[in-house]
């Protein structure tokens, strides 16, 4: 069952990466992406555990699979709502900062390119 081990470690690292990005990245959109990465790692952990619970005729325990499918859809809904909130904040305030201070003036400059 080497595949289970490899992908289990892969899932754990994805969770760690997502958590690191969620904490350290200042931009809210990048936090949302990092959160999705974290979620994907958690789903993979479910898949790895379900793979060990394979039975005759079923390659992967169907109950965790169903949970993960529900989880993917719910994560997508939450992401869509978070992004709508973020875009509305940007529209209203002209920046996407979450801190209480005055919005930095750099936000209104066009990007150099």
């Amino acid at each position: 069952m080497s595949g289970v081990t490899v992908f289990g470690v892969c899932a754990a690292v994805a969770v760690g990466l997502g958590l690191y990005g969620l904490i350290t990245n200042p931009q809210p959109l990048r936090k949302i992406i990092a959160f999705n990465l974290l979620g994907s790692g958690v789903f993979l952990l479910f898949g790895v555990v379900g793979r060990r619970g394979a039975a005759s005729g079923v390659g992967n325990d169907p109950v965790p699979q169903a949970l993960v499918i529900t989880g993917v859809v719910v994560a997508f809904s939450a992401t869509a709502l978070a992004i709508a909130l973020l875009l509305r904040l940007f529209q209203k305030a002209g920046s996407t900062t979450l801190s209480n201070g005055p919005p930095p003036s750099a936000g209104s400059d066009p990007p150099g390119g």
């Binding site: 490899v6 990005g21 999705n36 994907s40 390659g59 994560a75 997508f76 920046s95 990007p111």
Partner: protein, 313 residues
């Protein structure tokens, strides 16, 4: 070490490399492109884990639609690009890294030292498949054994769309979501948007229909239908409907509504909420799924287009 093991390590390394790129790269557009690639490739891991239903969901919703959702947000927030002053200090970074490594190591250790006797519900699911007449165990769990979860998940989708719509500014209340795209009549995009959706609709319905006995189902099929609808919108062939339309709102509640009616029917005629009589289980489940695929396609599409921005002329 066998070839299969080398392949698995390689696959995990590619996927993790994309994950690192997504977190580490400076530009948000590049990060979202990396995330889409990550989401599409994770489907390979799911196939390797023999969880094809999840692979379909992850490819369609996690990678495709979710990635494009993040991408359109990144395109709009381009002007709000990095504010270096806001970045956390070295101490925060170091402690966040330490915490992340600790949690990742704990999880990896837990996976590596799982007990040998694995608790599993797979035999129970297989043994009770006769009650629904469907051969796909995952669909059985989703639509019958844990139907409550699936119904509530539909309600979550509905709540999300209500939440998104409630963010509309006053002058666009009940109007069209997203910008109006202009069609370039002799453009390649219009050509593709005319040619691909008929194929995509057939594939979407096929994935839905095969879900009864093989991997597939209403979410995955609905996600494909939603992407085809969005393709036509992006090419400028059609506009997003104003969200105040009755028929649109009817489609959005059709899936969870029918699910609830069937569930209450189970309470009235049968043993419990959402208990299907075995003789009618298959037609009932298929009926709910037909209503659900329409609801899912409409909801996913509208979640991607966002809050109303233009008032009805």
């Amino acid at each position: 070490m066998s070839i299969a093991a080398v392949f698995e390590i390689l696959l995990a390394a590619v996927v993790l490399g994309l994950g690192i790129w997504t977190i580490a790269v400076r530009e948000t557009y590049s990060a979202t492109v990396g995330f889409v690639a990550y989401g599409l490739l994770v489907a390979l891991i799911w196939v390797r884990l023999d969880a094809v239903d999840v692979a379909l969901t992850e490819a369609a919703i996690g990678g495709g639609l979710g990635g494009v959702l993040l991408l359109s947000a990144a395109a709009r927030l381009r002007d709000a690009e990095p504010m270096a002053a806001e970045a956390p200090g070295k101490v925060t970074r170091a402690s966040a890294a330490a915490l992340s490594v600790l949690i990742a190591a704990t999880l990896a250790g837990a996976v590596l030292h799982l007990p040998d006797s694995t608790p599993t519900l797979a035999p129970t699911v297989v043994a009770n498949a006769w009650a629904t007449g469907l051969a796909n165990p995952v669909t059985n769990v989703l639509m019958a054994f844990r139907a409550m979860d699936t119904m509530l998940e539909k309600v979550v989708l509905l709540l999300a769309i209500i939440g998104v719509w409630s963010l509309a500014p006053d002058n666009a209340w009940g109007g069209h979501p997203g910008p109006r795209h202009q069609a370039d009549p002799d453009g390649v995009l219009v050509f593709l948007a005319r040619l691909l959706p008929p194929i995509g609709i057939v594939v979407g319905i096929y994935i839905f229909w095969t879900g009864a006995n093989h991997p597939g189902g209403a979410f995955q099929g609905g996600a494909i239908l939603a992407s085809m609808w969005l393709l036509a919108i992006m090419a400028g062939l059609t506009d997003t409907p104003p969200v105040r339309r009755r028929w649109l709102r009817f489609i959005l509640v059709a899936g969870p509504g029918l699910f609830l009616v069937v569930g209450l029917g189970g309470l009235w005629f049968g043993a419990a909420f959402l208990a299907y009589p075995p003789a009618q289980a298959k037609p009932l489940i298929l009926g709910i799924e037909v209503a659900m695929i329409l609801t899912i396609a409409a909801t996913l599409g509208l979640l991607l287009t966002g809050a109303p921005e233009r008032s009805v002329k």
